[in-house]
Structures are given as C-alpha cells and as structure tokens.
C-alpha cells in the first residue's frame, strides 16, 4: 500500500493567503493543486513535505481562459478538462487540444491543472512542451508582487522551477500572432502514458506565404522541455516545404539530448524527435491553410493530403 509520509494539511481560499502561508513555512511546505503528479510522488516517498497546502479553492480565482488583444491569459488552476473543452483556446492554439486529448485520461484531466503541470517540471510533461512552443510566459506571485518569466527561465532542471519557496505560479500568458497555427504530436507506449517523445510546433506565415516565424517544443528528450531556437532561424523567410520541414527535423534531432531508459533507446528517441517535429510543422502549416487565414499558395508543396 502506497501512502505518503505524514504531513500537516492546510487549505487556503485566496492567493494572498497561500503566499502568506508559504512565506511563513518556507521550504517545508508545498502547494497541491490537482495532485495527480505530486501525490503519486509523495506515495512513493520521492517527495516529502511537512505541510501540504491545498489550493483547490482558488479555482474560482485562478481558473479561466481570457482572450485579450494580442494575448491569451490562462489561470494556473484551469483544469485539463477545461483546457480541452475551451473553444477559444482550440481556435487560437490547436496544439492545446491535440496535447490535452492525449494527456492521461478523462478522470485525471478532471483534476490536473495547467499550473500544477508546469510546476511539477517533469521533463516528459506535454503541457510544458506546449507552453514552450507557444512562447508562453509565467506570472509568479510573491509577497512583494508579481514577476513574469519566460518558459526558458521558468524551468531550471528536472522538477525545478523559478518559483521561489514563498511564491506561486498564478497565470500563463500566450502571445497571439496573426496568420499562424500549431499542432502537437506524441508517441507513447500505451494510451494516456507519459510521452516517449512529444513535439509541439507553431508556424506563422507572412503575406507571401513564406514562414514568418516557427517554434518547436520537445518533451522527454532532455532535462526540461526544450525549445529549439535554431529551427526558427532556419525556417524564417522560406517557403514551408517538405524539404524545409526535414531540415527542421534534423535540427531537432541534433539539438535534443535523450537518454536510454525503459521507454526507448536514445537513438529511437532522437529519431522520434526528428519525425514528430516534421509532422507537427507539416500539420501546423496545413491548418493555417485550412482555417483560411493563410495564403492558399502557401500550403502547396507541403505534402498535401493527410497532413
């Protein structure tokens, strides 16, 4: 029987109360949201805390998807199910729906949250790859107020984030740029499992149908989900062709740093990083055409059907 080590359970009903409690308890305390990553680790005694602070009552305060001019804001307590069901989110960033439909299962998605996923900082976590792909920034609140950090700065290594002992992640912000789309590809051993490798991609086209910008985020091939800036540099200004996607795939394979484990060999994961990058880019570009946002000519020569 797996049972966590003893701890003191506390429940808070506002962000201010949570931060105040964290401030007084220091690193002996940990926030729990959905708990579907943290509680299993506590059951295995891989994570032990003197105090567990339950923030589920903050769902009213921090559970939202809000679209503003030029950006979307998502509250840290927004649950997987809500992310999957949000029509606003699906329209702006299809990569979210792709990823959410293959994260765990419906019962787990009823509990797990965006903020909890990012704060767990598991290198295989799909939403972290999504946020990296979309160039998200994280709003962190402490006693002194708020600060905003990029995804690159948010994750500091496996299970480590920029969130201090007396701080909490409250919101994730996503820039909305015109004429773009996104997609997510994942290979897992069985339905609902952690990724062997997963890849998110986002592409924006210019008026001539050339790539204005492109981003790729990979999970499970390094100490953190990895953005690969070289891909954007390689693709910008060029027509989105199969050859270009293949070059991006090569860059992804070169840039990633997978390890051999029971989910697969490093070589296999490198192969997946390449192939999933190609597929996610191809699907992103096809979606720009499908939505009517892009220049029709832009999707020609991208592999066409079944993308």
């Amino acid at each position: 029987m797996q049972v966590p080590a003893p701890f003191e359970y506390q429940r808070v009903s506002s962000v201010g109360e949570a931060v105040g409690l964290l401030d007084s308890l220091g690193d002996t305390a940990r926030l729990v949201a959905g708990g579907h990553s943290l509680i299993p680790m506590m059951k295995l005694r891989l994570a032990n805390f003197e105090y567990l602070i339950d923030i589920n009552e903050l769902h009213g305060e921090l559970g939202y998807v809000v679209t503003e001019p030029g950006r979307m804001r998502i509250g840290a307590m927004t649950r997987h199910r809500e992310l999957l069901e949000s029509a606003e989110l699906a329209a702006a960033f299809p990569v979210f729906g792709d990823a959410e439909s293959v994260i765990a299962d419906p019962a787990v998605r009823n509990r797990g949250t965006l903020g909890g996923s990012l704060c767990q900082a598991d290198p295989s976590e799909d939403l972290s790859a999504v946020c990296t792909t979309l160039d998200a920034s994280c709003v962190i609140r402490g006693r002194e107020g708020e600060r905003v950090v990029s995804m690159e700065d948010f994750h500091r290594g496996p299970y480590e984030t920029a969130v201090g002992d007396a701080e909490m992640l409250t919101e994730v912000r996503f820039p909305i740029r015109p004429n773009g789309s996104s997609a997510f590809e994942k290979v897992e051993r069985r339905a609902g499992d952690w990724a062997v490798v997963s890849a998110g991609a986002a592409v924006w086209l210019d008026g001539d149908g050339a790539v204005a910008d492109a981003r790729v985020g990979l999970a499970a091939v390094g100490p953190n989900t990895a953005g690969i800036p070289g891909i954007g540099e390689e693709l910008r200004g060029k027509a989105p062709t199969e050859e270009l996607f293949a070059r991006a795939g090569d860059l992804a394979a070169e840039a990633c740093d997978p390890v051999t484990d029971r989910r697969g060999s490093a070589e296999y994961k490198r192969h997946l990083a390449k192939e999933l990058t190609v597929r996610a880019l191809r699907r992103s570009v096809a979606r720009i055409g499908a939505s009517g946002a892009g220049t029709p000519g832009a999707v020609q020569g991208t592999g066409g059907e079944g993308a």
Partner: protein, 189 residues
Amino acid sequence: MQVTMTVNGEEISREIEGRLLLVHFLRDHLALTGTHWGCDTSNCGTCVVQMDGEPVKSCTVLAAMAGGHDITTVEGLEQGGELDAVQRGFMECHGLQCGFCTPGMLMTSRALLDGNPAPSEPQIREALSGQICRCTGYATIVRSVQWAAAEESGSRTTASQGESAGAPEPPAPDAPASEPAAASAGGAS
C-alpha cells in the same frame, strides 16, 4: 484533523490523518468497500468515484481534499431499492466477468450519461479510457453503457431518477464538451 463531506447524500464527519487517501477513507473508515483499490497509481480506474458529479481516481485524492465536496460511490447508485440503469445494463449485457473493475466502470459510465445521454461508441470508449478491465471485456462494457443510454432515453421523461445534487441536469451546455477531442482527431486532414 477533522474532515466533513457528503457521501452518497449523507453528511459524514471523521477525524483523519492528512495523508489518508480518499479510497482508504471510503473503504476503511466508512466500510464502503464497493469502491475497489487497485493499481494505486491512478492508472487502472477501479477506484473511481464521483466528486461533485465528476469521475475522479480516489487513490490519488486525499480524503482531506474531498472535504466539503459531494462524493458518490457505487453504493450510491441504487435508489430506493432499484438498481441504476447502468447497473442493469451491466447485468443485461454481461458487462462484468470478475467484477474487479466494475465499480469504476459504473461510476464513470453514470457520469458520462449524466452529461451526454446519447453518447456515440467512440465517446463511450473515450470516457472509459482511464479504466482497465483485465478480463478484457470491453466490448460488452460498451454495450452495457449503450443499453443504459437506450433504457434511460425511454424512461427519461419521468425525471424521477433523483441523482445527487452535484450532477447538472440539462445536457445541452455539455454537448460541445466532447467535440474538441473529436474535432482535433479528424480535423487536421
């Protein structure tokens, strides 16, 4: 610590340890052993109960976290001596063999039908995708849920099924719920 929650319509208060998991609270403190304790890793789904009408895996929810919420277990399905339609469906369509996964299957199916009274087969399979039947009796389980849906669509007009307060009655707002998954699966072509 003291925890108070509603279990199958009855308010219950107990002194517990903060680390107690909901599945053990139900089984060991309330003697509601209908909820099974399986993989202990939130994979198999036999421990699923409804929390405010939504299926959750009770091996990965602390009893303390359920405080103030409405919990429905498989024991709460039967109303006034009459089995719920999903229970009857599992009987009619041979939806169980060894029966170990059945409580989770029933609670998940009940929640599905509360939100979507006429689910398609893919929707049923998606809803049950977090449940493992090691007898591999999935075909008959899906058929059982379909039987319950058909049964309820015939008798639904009476609205006498006094479901516990948490479950929202009108299905209309939930209708788009399952759409994104379906749309993203097929929409990319």
